[in-house]
Symmetry: C2
Amino acid sequence: MEVRHLELLRDLRDRGTLAAVAEASFRTPSALSQQLKTAERELGVALVEPYSRGLRLTWAGQILADGADDVLTAVARVQGRLDAGRGAPAGTVKIGTLPSAGAALMPGLFTRLADTLIDVVLDDFDLAEADYAARTADADLVIAHSLSADVPAGAHGLVSRVVLREPIDVAVPSHHRLASRDAVGPADVCHEPWVAVPPGYPFGTIHESIEAASGVPLNRIARVRDNRLVESLVEAGHGVGLLPRFSTPASAGLVLLPLTGVRATRSIVALARRDRAQRRAVSAVVDLLAEVGATLEERVRPARTSTAPTRTS
Amino acid sequence: MEVRHLELLRDLRDRGTLAAVAEASFRTPSALSQQLKTAERELGVALVEPYSRGLRLTWAGQILADGADDVLTAVARVQGRLDAGRGAPAGTVKIGTLPSAGAALMPGLFTRLADTLIDVVLDDFDLAEADYAARTADADLVIAHSLSADVPAGAHGLVSRVVLREPIDVAVPSHHRLASRDAVGPADVCHEPWVAVPPGYPFGTIHESIEAASGVPLNRIARVRDNRLVESLVEAGHGVGLLPRFSTPASAGLVLLPLTGVRATRSIVALARRDRAQRRAVSAVVDLLAEVGATLEERVRPARTSTAPTRTS
DNA sequence: CACTTCCATGAAGGCTCCCTACATAGTTAA
DNA sequence: TTAACTATGTAGGGAGCCTTCATGGAAGTG
C-alpha cells in the first residue's frame, strides 16, 4: 500500500475525472491510469470502474480514498510539529476567496503578514455557496460564506472556522427618504424598487425573507451579481439593494441601513482540507484572519453606539 | 516529506544503527546513508548526528521517527479496513515467542488456524523480560511475559494484550512428603533444596518473595534457565523448583502445587507494534490466542474445583 | 601502540520504474 | 456523423534508488 496511490484515489474522488487530476498535478492522464493499474495489481482489488465517460470508485477505492485523508493528515501533522520545533512559521499559503470578503479581510491580513516569513498567493472567484468547498483541492485556504449556517454546504470533512459575521445591510441613496433612519424593517422597504440578484445567488434568500415577512412581492428592477454594480445603481437612485456592511466602501452617494426583522447576516468562513490545515503557516494565517475579522466587527459596532444605543446580546 | 524517510528514521530509532537497519531490510548501509542525506536536504534540517561509533537522532529526527508511528499506523488502518471489506483475513503472521508460553499456546492456535487462510511463521527466543519488546521490530507478534505487571517493561507505545494469566507452581517429586498437599506456602518450602534460576531471570523474583515472606534464605543447589532441565532435576529428587502450570507437561515423576502467600502468577502477553497490530490477520491471531488462553485457564481450574473448593475472585 | 572490528560515508555504474508522447477506443452531445 | 470528451495501451527517455568498492573515524584488544 503506497501513499502515492492513496493520494491519487483521494484526488480522483475530489476532482471526479482522471483528466482533471492530471491537469491539476501537471501530469498526463496516461501516467495516472498506469498508476491505478499498478495499485490494483498490488492490492488485488478493483479500485475504479468505467462509468459514463469517466471512472467511478469501487467500494475498495472509496475506502482507500477516505483512508488517504487520515494518512495525509498524519503526515501533515508531523510536518507541523517539525515546523513548530524550527521556529516561526514560513512558506507560501495559497488563498482563494470570494471577492467581497477578500476586499474586507485581505488588507488587514497583508498588513499583519508584513513582518512574518509567510507569503500569500491570492486568487478570487465568485461561486454559488456550495461550490467553494471543492476549491480546497486547489488552494490551501478558501474564504467562503454561508447565509444560513456557520458552515457552508459541501464542507463536510473540511476544517472550517468562522472569521467574521457580517451584517447584510440595505443600501439606499444618500438623498433617499429612509437615509436618516437608524434601521429599517421589511415593511419599510417592501415597496421600493429593488436591485436584486439572479435566482440562486447568495443574497437571494434575504430578498425572499423580506417578501415572506412583509407579504409583498418585491419589484426587482435588476438582477446583477457584482456588488460594485449594485452600488452604482443604488447611488444613481434606481432603487435600493442589499450590501455586506464591511465589504462596502464608505461612499458619499449611499447609506447602509441595518435590516431588522429578518436574518440578514452572513458568516465568512475559512475552509481548508484537513491535511493542509495542519501546516503551521496555514493555521497562522487562519488565526490572523480571525483577528482581522474581530477588528472589523469591533471597529464598526461602537461607531453606531455613539449615535443610537444598540442591543448588545 | 516522504513516508520512506519517516520509516527509515523509525527503524533507525528502534534498531540503533544504520547497519542493523540495512541488514533487517536487505539493503546496504550506503543506500540508507544516501537516503538520510536526501531527506535532510529536502527538509533543510539535520536529522542525525555522529555519536560514538554510530549515529544519533537529532530533535528533528526524533520528531519524524515518532511521527512515523502515527503515519504508518494510519496506513495500516486503511489496509485493515480494506481487508475487512474483502472477507476473511489472510496472509502470513510472523510470531516470536518465549518457549514455555509457546509450548502452551501454539498447539491450540495451530488447531484454530487450520481452517483459515492465515499462515504462521514461528520463531522462539529466551530473553530477559525487558528485551522482548524490541523483537516487535522483526516479528508481527511477540509472545512475552511479565511477572510484576500486566505489561512487560519496554513495551511503551506497543499494543499489548494479556492472553493468559498463568500460575507459577511449586514442583516437587511425586514421592515427596508435600506431594499430596493441595497447596503450599513459603513456610512449607523454605527449607527445601531449590533448583533456582540465574540472577535476573524471570522467576527469580518469586524465589526472593519466598525468602522475604519466610525470613529464611533459600538453599539454591542449582541455577538453570531451561524449564525441562528444572523438571528433570526435580523428578530425580534433587530438590524442588518453580514451573509454570500450563506449560509443564503432565508427568508421572512430579507434582505441581499451587503456591500461596506470595504473588506467583505471570501474565503471558501478545505484543505488537501499532502498525502491525492493525493488520487484520494479526489481530485475528491475537483474538485466537486469547481464546486459547481462556481455554487453558478453564480447563485446569475446574479440575481442582472437584477435589477442593477454590477461591473465585 | 598496532591491529582488528564495526561504524558511516562517498563515487561510479547498473537497473528499475515513472512519466511523456502518441495512437486508439468508447461515450455523450450537437 | 462529427466533435469533444473520457480512459487506455505502447514505446522510449530519464530520474532516482540501490549495489559495489574504497575511504576514514571510533572503540576495543593484544
